[in-house]
């Protein structure tokens, strides 16, 4: 008999066990970790300055990494061939021919452009090239900026934005939901009407209209903040509904009555007894809310109505893809979409698995 077996499993160890039994959930978790890692170490991972323009290397196609050159000579240091720009004599379209004489070698953990990290001035990078040679693993954009570095940099703004929106939403949602469910009566009726109002609005058109009234020449940072508030203006309603429902059912349970009988005040009951019991539900809602915020932000920035440069977000990078000719000639401008896809799929898979782990009896309908 091991003593260990006699200790009952805590709630969270049960949740963890159920979560890690779900392979899709683990995959989602890995994606989420990768994203956060990328966002934190974006500068270190980026081979070039995301804002650095290069008029000599406009719309370079993605370059492949080689270990063997055209004569099958092996090189331990990976390299990518450069391009010769030319013109198609018939159509006058610019063409990119691989230039076998030009090898751009990749160096790992070397010095490159300077950046700030935690107040330190650093210039070390995971990989970069030397001596004015460049490689673009995802191609370059209309200003010759490295798409890969910009995708890394974009992860910061996109995730930070989602984080801000979700934080505002969660705080409002929990406050309104718990107080509405706990105090009931007239207060509940009043807040429920406001919640219904927020739920009645069509999301996309309302956000668009609110974005429309922001002044045009606004500071990009202020636009970022206002956008976050605009997107939070409706999203809290759904969460507060769910929290209220949960609180209503908890309130009827004996332990709350016992707490009341023992003379706990409202504050204590809410913080000590109700909040911990709605937390798991809120965590799930949050992890499923993040992808929806990412999608909305990307769509707005894609339309040119969201995040403004000099900030970089995935959606904003796709803004140039609105023009069909650009996609037609330079399909790699669509590459930030895959970053969006990975994050949305990752957070969704993670959230779904977490929901199943936290509440194994709930079906997919009860979101």
């Amino acid at each position: 008999m091991k003593a260990k077996n006699n200790i009952p499993n805590s709630y969270f160890s049960l949740v963890r066990k159920r979560f890690f039994a779900n392979r899709v959930g683990i995959l989602g978790l890995v994606f989420v970790f990768l994203l956060i890692f990328t966002a934190v170490f974006a500068d270190f991972l980026s081979p070039y300055n995301p804002a650095g323009r290069d008029s000599d290397r406009v719309f370079y196609p993605p370059q492949g990494i080689n270990f063997f050159d055209e004569d099958y000579n092996f090189s331990l240091r990976p390299f990518a061939y450069g391009f010769i720009e030319g013109f198609d004599p018939d159509t006058f379209e610019p063409t990119m021919e691989i230039d076998y004489s030009q090898k751009n070698y990749i160096y790992f953990f070397t010095r490159g452009w300077e950046y700030k990290f935690l107040g330190l001035n650093l210039d070390i990078h995971l990989f970069t090239t030397k001596d004015n040679s460049k490689i673009f693993l995802l191609g370059s954009d209309a200003y010759g900026r490295d798409m890969l570095s910009r995708v890394f940099k974009g992860s910061r703004v996109t995730l930070l934005f989602a984080l801000i929106v979700v934080s505002i939403t969660t705080v409002i949602g929990i406050l309104v939901g718990i107080s509405s469910g706990y105090f009931a009566g007239k207060f509940d009726i009043a807040t429920q009407r406001i919640t219904e109002l927020a739920l009645a609005f069509p999301e996309l058109p309302l956000y668009l209209s609110l974005v429309a009234i922001l002044p045009r020449q606004m500071d990009p940072f202020l636009v970022f903040i206002f956008m976050a508030f605009i997107l939070s203006s409706l999203k809290w309603a759904q969460l507060s509904r769910e929290v209220r429902g949960k609180t209503l059912s908890l309130r009827r349970l004996d332990y709350i009555k016992a707490a009341e009988a023992l003379g706990s005040n409202d504050m204590r009951i809410i913080v000590k007894h109700l909040l911990p019991n709605v937390t798991s539900h809120v965590i799930v809602s949050v992890s499923l809310l993040i992808p929806s915020v990412i999608l909305t932000e990307s769509f707005f920035s894609f339309l040119g109505l969201g995040i403004q440069s000099p900030f970089v977000s995935w959606g904003l990078q796709l803004n140039s893809a609105q023009d069909l000719r650009t996609i037609g000639s330079y399909p790699w401008v669509l590459s930030p979409v895959f970053a969006i896809l990975i994050s949305v799929l990752g957070f969704n898979a993670f959230g779904d698995a977490l929901r199943d782990a936290i509440d194994p009896y709930a079906t997919t309908t009860k979101k």
């Binding site: 309302l206 668009l208 209209s209 974005v211 009234i213 769509f299 109505l305 037609g328 669509l334």
Partner: protein, 332 residues
């Protein structure tokens, strides 16, 4: 039943009232009004002096009641909407907003409703199939499909289809409602077919997401219902598996789905808008975005208002349907 319907409709009137106030404030927020815009336009085109311009501003403000207290302005605005379906004047397009809405909004609504129909019927069918074959190959494929359908960004799908149509297939059927030839023709089957050739990507994109949602909800509900005791009873009295399923389980599993339609309609509408914006098919979506880019506030507000009213009506219909299906709802 009738009292339920009346109560439900009366109940939504204060909601619409508050919504209209909020939207009116959205219109009022940007600096400048119709008069300043009109005068600056005239100044640019007709070359009038500063004094004339100021005079014109004053007369225009008088004429349109822009000097009235804001409450009266609001009453005037809402009165025109309710009695004359007049949403004001589009500054960018230089014609009444209602004219453009009459052109664009029905299209959006029809497309969204058709999408809604297909998404529901196909989604429910696949949902039943998936629940019947729980954890088998078909169910797994359907689940993965639903997951992808819900998570892949719709504007990305729209871009992809657009790229495929315009670049790979070199098709002419993009970026408009009809081909130039049919644009001026009266409605006919050929024109309808031509229209479908242009707007099918919207159907595909909006239906995919909605169908995935419906499928998930239906599958979950049905699995819940199948665990109930009365299903066991139905089996025990000798009904075949299919009879149990279609006579007892499916009708009961449909209730939450009907309740869910209140959420599904906005989702479909948003899907239609998003796809139409990217594919620039002239429905309400592109008009909305364009009016925002041109800061054409009246048009923006009108579209927002109409879409909100549609959603409120959609919710009423969903609630009434639910009351018809489920006696517990109408008695409460």
């Amino acid at each position: 039943m009738l009292s339920f319907i009346i109560r439900r409709i009366l109940y939504s009137i204060p909601l619409l009232f508050i919504i209209s106030i909020l939207i009116f404030f959205i219109i009022q927020l940007p600096p400048g009004d119709y008069a300043t815009w009109y005068v600056s336009q005239t100044k640019a085109l007709a070359n009038i002096t500063q004094e004339q311009a100021i005079e014109l501003t004053i007369t225009l403000r008088e004429k349109y009641g822009l000097n009235d207290p804001i409450v009266f302005q609001y009453l005037n605005w809402i009165k025109n909407i309710i009695f004359y379906f007049d949403f004001g004047f589009s500054m960018h397009y230089n014609k009444p907003v209602s004219e453009m809405l009459a052109d664009r909004l029905p299209r959006t609504l029809i497309i969204a409703l058709i999408c809604h129909f297909f998404a529901t019927t196909i989604g429910v069918t696949i949902g039943i199939y998936a629940a019947k074959n729980q954890n088998k190959l078909g169910d797994n494929i359907a689940t993965i499909f639903a997951f992808l359908g819900m998570t892949i960004p719709r504007f990305f799908l729209a871009l992809l289809i657009m790229y495929w149509l315009a670049i790979v297939l070199n098709s002419d059927n993009t970026g408009s409602m009809y081909s130039p030839y049919y644009a001026v023709q009266p409605m006919s089957f050929a024109k309808l077919w031509n229209g479908i050739l242009h707007i099918w990507p919207i159907f595909a994109i909006a239906v995919l997401g909605g169908l995935a949602y419906n499928m998930r909800v239906m599958r979950g509900n049905l699995l819940d219902v199948m665990r109930m005791q009365y299903i066991e009873t139905a089996r025990a009295k000798g009904l075949s598996e299919n009879q149990t399923l279609y006579r007892h389980a499916v009708p009961n599993a449909l209730h939450p789905l009907v309740m869910f339609q209140g959420i599904a309609l906005p989702y479909m509408l948003m899907g239609e808008l998003e796809a139409a914006i990217v594919l620039s098919i002239p429905t309400a979506g592109p008009l909305l975005v364009e009016s925002i880019q041109r800061q054409d506030t009246y048009t923006t507000a009108a579209i927002l208002f109409c879409l909100t009213v549609i959603l409120v009506i959609g919710n009423i219909i969903a609630d009434i349907l639910l009351a018809v299906l489920d006696p517990r709802v109408r008695q409460n």
